[in-house]
């Protein structure tokens, strides 16, 4: 019997000569589900119970909506099974370059470590916490577009709404970028024409993928034990004793009348609208600038033509046609991506507000009913 603990795992005894791996034929039932080239499109996302609780914990503990991390798992026959996740640190270093490197190093070592304990180490996407239903922002889309090339199926974005979860409805939604948006993004062109040809509005940047929640049987059984109610007939019972030792007593936070988040929600909408107005002003200014430069250039061309006509009629050699783009600097057409994102933000904020107030209305009438009895 050893009296001390070994500091590292014993080396495997005399590693047997690695036999040539034998490949078994893929059974016919599975051959349809196996796709090496990621040909089968994703139709749904399946979240493991552990992932759900990990994300909720991380989102609550991180300040604001800064919580984000990576999702690990596998895809099988159109269902993306997310079986694990890990959070990414918020601030690693001071300067941009260092922190990006540190982040990459963090990711690789985390993935290697997870692999060692037989956990999945295949990155399938990101998760991001949000509040009040709004998650459109440029950095999210940027990260996702960069990952698009590297991940199978381009990776998914899982967004988790903190405020909705606090209100009693755990909210997770999965998205991926649409083809049209990716195309426009690759060309780095979000001018009005490009938007029209790609038919892009804020609602067509991302497409939603339905989510399923799954608890493995072991977890299910454990939860069952935790929330086990002592079998209890309704009649002839003593209410006090029904609160037997239950690790998960029922919760009624949904019934809270509180409308405290409404003020914040309204403020957010107003903020987003102000930002949108500024952005619109910028775009309008840019467009006026473009129009002015264009008129100048056109006037110049017309004048040069008239001059030349005069010179020709006088028998002189015409002046050379000059490159107008050198003389007049026509600014590039403004990108409308930011304003589109802002519209998306306004839309989701107001959608949340609408949902809160309609649920609040029901609760108010319910409360009045109780008060009148």
């Amino acid at each position: 019997m050893a009296a001390a603990i070994a500091a590292s795992l014993p080396a495997p005894q005399a590693a047997p000569t690695p036999a040539a791996p034998t490949y078994e034929a893929i059974p016919a039932s599975m051959s349809k589900a196996i796709d090496l080239e990621a040909d089968i499109p994703l139709t749904s996302v399946q979240l493991d119970g552990m992932v759900v609780s990990k994300i909720i914990k991380h989102a609550r503990e991180a300040q604001g909506t800064s919580a984000h991390g990576m999702l690990l798992g596998l895809d099988l026959d159109g269902t993306l099974e997310v079986s694990n996740c890990f959070p990414l640190p918020h601030h690693l270093g001071d300067d941009e370059d260092k922190s990006a490197k540190g982040l990459a190093r963090y990711q690789t070592s985390m993935l290697r470590s997870l692999k060692e304990v037989q956990a999945d180490d295949n990155v399938v996407g990101f998760y991001q916490a949000m509040s009040l239903g709004s998650f459109y922002n440029q950095s999210l889309v940027d990260t996702q577009a960069i990952q698009q090339e590297r991940l199978r199926h381009g990776g998914i974005i899982l967004v988790h709404d903190i405020t909705r979860t606090a209100r009693g409805n755990a909210s997770f939604r999965a998205f991926r970028l649409t083809r049209a948006f990716l195309d426009a993004y690759k060309r780095n062109n979000f001018s009005a024409d490009s938007l029209i040809s790609h038919r892009l509005t804020f609602s067509s940047i991302l497409e939603e993928i339905p989510i399923k929640i799954r608890t493995n049987p072991l977890l299910g059984a454990f939860l069952e034990t935790l929330s086990e109610q002592s079998p209890f007939p309704v009649s002839n019972s003593h209410p006090a004793s029904s609160q037997a030792s239950v690790a998960l007593p029922p919760s009624f936070s949904v019934l809270n009348l509180g409308t405290s988040s409404v003020t914040k929600n309204l403020e957010q909408i107003i903020e987003a609208m102000d930002a949108y107005k500024t952005e619109e002003g910028n775009i309008a200014y840019n467009q006026r600038q473009i129009a002015r430069e264009k008129t100048k250039a056109d006037a110049y061309v017309v004048k040069r033509k008239e001059d030349n006509a005069v010179r020709v009629s006088q028998g002189l050699a015409p002046l050379p046609e000059e490159d107008i783009s050198r003389l007049f600097r026509i600014p590039p057409e403004p990108s409308r991506l930011e304003s589109m994102m802002l519209l998306g933000r306004i839309d989701s904020y107001s959608k949340t507000l609408e949902e809160t107030s309609s649920a609040g209305l029901v609760k108010m009438y319910a409360a009045r009913g109780t008060a009148n009895v």
Binding site: I56, K57, Y106, A192, L218, H238, S242, S253, L255
Partner: protein, 298 residues
């Protein structure tokens, strides 16, 4: 919220402050966050055939009162044979570094293992973790997965103290301390979701707010029925009334509803309707605006 069936074990506090070799208060109780539990269960599912149990490190915070809050956990490689036990300490340190980057507040508080047998190897591992958590004591969380016959699922927490005339690392006494499940109210809905899935509910996800409200109201209604039947049976003289229950009922149902009188209800109703109207207005404006951006000026 106890995590295991009540045991007859006395939660003996062997730690008299100032009497111990190591400073700091000995842990008096342990609270466990669901994430840690779920991680342990997942690790257990992913073990290799050769492993009978899995171990890992617990991260969390210590309060001055001796209460330890286990907030998360990660798996650690280890192997047990008849001759020796080995823990991959390098892996443990590397993983702790990684976790520390994301969550600097969480420190090593102890270790977990699955199954409920405490043997010599447990003592050795406990000894190792005590060095990691020094000067504080390490806690040991034994999680019974309930997968083995005859034992129910549950979690027990232990602290250790040396035993014998000349204490050796492979000998120690594991003293049970109380262990509870804890989480913030905001995380409650996530657990509710998992519980409903575990119970085989086929409700579509995501659920609408009103559906959840309806479920909660149903539960309340059931509870009221139960209380009503109890009160009726007390009034009929079938059951002897409990004064404590009566007082609770009095407090609950006597709650003031004066702020819901006519005037303020209507004002509040108007506010809510107004907000709802505004929200819809803003939304349709946003939609129109995004469509307008797609039209060519002609």
């Amino acid at each position: 919220m106890p995590l295991a069936h009540a045991s007859s074990a006395v939660h003996a506090q062997n730690a008299t402050p100032g009497f111990l070799a190591n400073p700091g208060r000995a842990p008096t109780s342990v609270t466990v966050h669901p994430v840690a539990l779920f991680t342990i269960l997942d690790h257990y599912l992913r073990r290799t055939d050769a492993q009978e149990r899995v171990i890992g490190t617990l991260l969390g915070t210590r309060a001055d009162t001796g209460e330890i809050e286990v907030k998360s956990a990660f798996a650690v490689l280890h192997s047990e044979t008849a001759e020796q036990v080995a823990v991959d300490m390098e892996y443990h340190h590397a993983m702790y570094e990684l976790h520390h980057k994301v969550n600097p507040k969480e420190v090593i508080v102890g270790w977990y293992s699955t199954g409920s047998n405490l043997n010599t190897y447990s003592a050795l591992i406990q000894n190792f973790y005590s060095q990691e958590t020094a000067p504080h004591q390490a806690v040991h969380l034994a999680l019974n997965t309930g997968a083995e016959g005859g034992e129910g699922a549950g979690v027990k927490a232990y602290i250790s103290s040396p035993v014998g005339v000349s204490p050796k690392p492979e000998n120690c006494v594991f003293t049970p301390i109380p262990c509870e499940l804890t989480f913030k109210e905001a995380e409650r809905s996530g657990l509710d979701l998992l519980t409903s899935v575990a119970q085989g509910s086929t409700d579509p996800y995501p659920a609408a707010d009103l559906d959840i409200l309806e479920r909660a109201l149903d539960t309340v209604s059931n509870m009221l029925d139960r209380v009503l039947s109890y009160v009726r049976s007390v009034l009929a003289g079938e059951v002897k009334g409990d004064a404590a229950v009566g007082r609770y009922l009095m407090n609950t149902f006597g709650a003031s509803t004066e702020d819901l009188d006519k005037g303020s209800f209507n004002a509040s109703l108007q506010d809510t309707l107004m907000v709802s109207y505004l929200a819809n207005l803003v939304r349709s404006q946003a939609q129109v605006s995004s469509r307008l951006a797609l039209t060519r000026a002609s």
